[in-house]
Symmetry: C2
Subunit: 146 residues, 2 copies
DNA sequence: AGTATTATTGTAATTGATTCTCAATTACAT
DNA sequence: ATGTAATTGAGAATCAATTACAATAATACT
């Protein structure tokens, strides 16, 4: 069975919510899924500009919560003063390992997080909605440079 | 063997760095260790005011990185637009489970994180410096209210 | 198709957390 | 004591993110 495209997912979400399907939102979404890896609002806005799109930053800020709400995108915290994002639709769950020296970001699988979530649900009566895990360290190169 | 107090830890850090020991910094640190749980800069500033202290927010913002640097305090991310903090000296490692409905925050042990860090170090050649894990969900009460 | 309704847009102003500037103060070494 | 350099408080500046508002455009309803 074939997976729905992100645009399809988004259109269904829009319809279900009685929101409106606009070219701006779909441009933004398409651009997000063409970006490999992480991005922030500025980067996304610049990329859209480069392709001739006139979408404003405000619209990007307004669209992102929608994409997050329908599970296409999520926030990523790099603790550098502003939010980063990444598309997650069709991706394996992963977390980020970031080098404090050079800023390199690696992705890694999260063995055991499913079990942890189940444990928390049982232990505290919570319905788990999601989690974020970030790990920081020094990459091999930056260790030498110390 | 008795554990050093947080003030002692901080004074040693200050001395080692050729920084200066000031009443402001020590007031802030003391207040932090009297707070049970998490706080943000505003709350901390108000508590200090209430006790008659005149420390400015700027000094709090300047002191926090020092406390974090010497392992007494850490940032906590509740994804609500600003940073929260907590003292960690003498505490077991823990992460936070936060209810998206009412904002309740529970702490839980992190089984397996040590193993995960060791694995990442081996796999990617990183020297691991730390990690953050947050889990979100709905508590029993907020599930019913839905 | 034509019109009414109301969501969405871009622009610019605003907010709010954090950082910075600067002059005055103060801790520490000599 | 004195010189120095770090630290302080106050307020200005910064910067990401949000919001107000008037214009536009997508959908619903004739």
């Amino acid at each position: 069975m074939v997976m729905k495209s992100e645009i399809q997912v988004f259109r269904e979400y829009i319809r279900g919510r009685r929101l409106r399907r606009t070219p701006e939102r779909e441009q933004i979404l398409q651009e997000i899924f063409e970006i490999h890896g992480h991005f922030d609002v500025d980067e996304l806005h610049l990329k859209l500009r480069d392709k001739g799109s006139k979408v404003s930053k405000a619209s990007i800020y307004r669209a992102l919560p929608l994409f997050m709400d329908c599970g296409l995108v999520r926030e990523v915290d790099f603790s550098d003063g502003h939010w980063h994002y990444e598309h997650i639709y069709g991706h394996a769950r992963h977390s980020h390992l970031r080098c404090l020296g050079c800023g390199e970001v690696l992705e890694f699988e999260e063995p055991g997080m499913g079990r942890l979530e189940a444990h928390l649900a049982r232990e505290y009566g919570y319905r788990i909605k999601g989690h974020q895990l970030q790990v920081q360290g020094l990459c091999a190169t930056c260790q030498e440079a110390e």
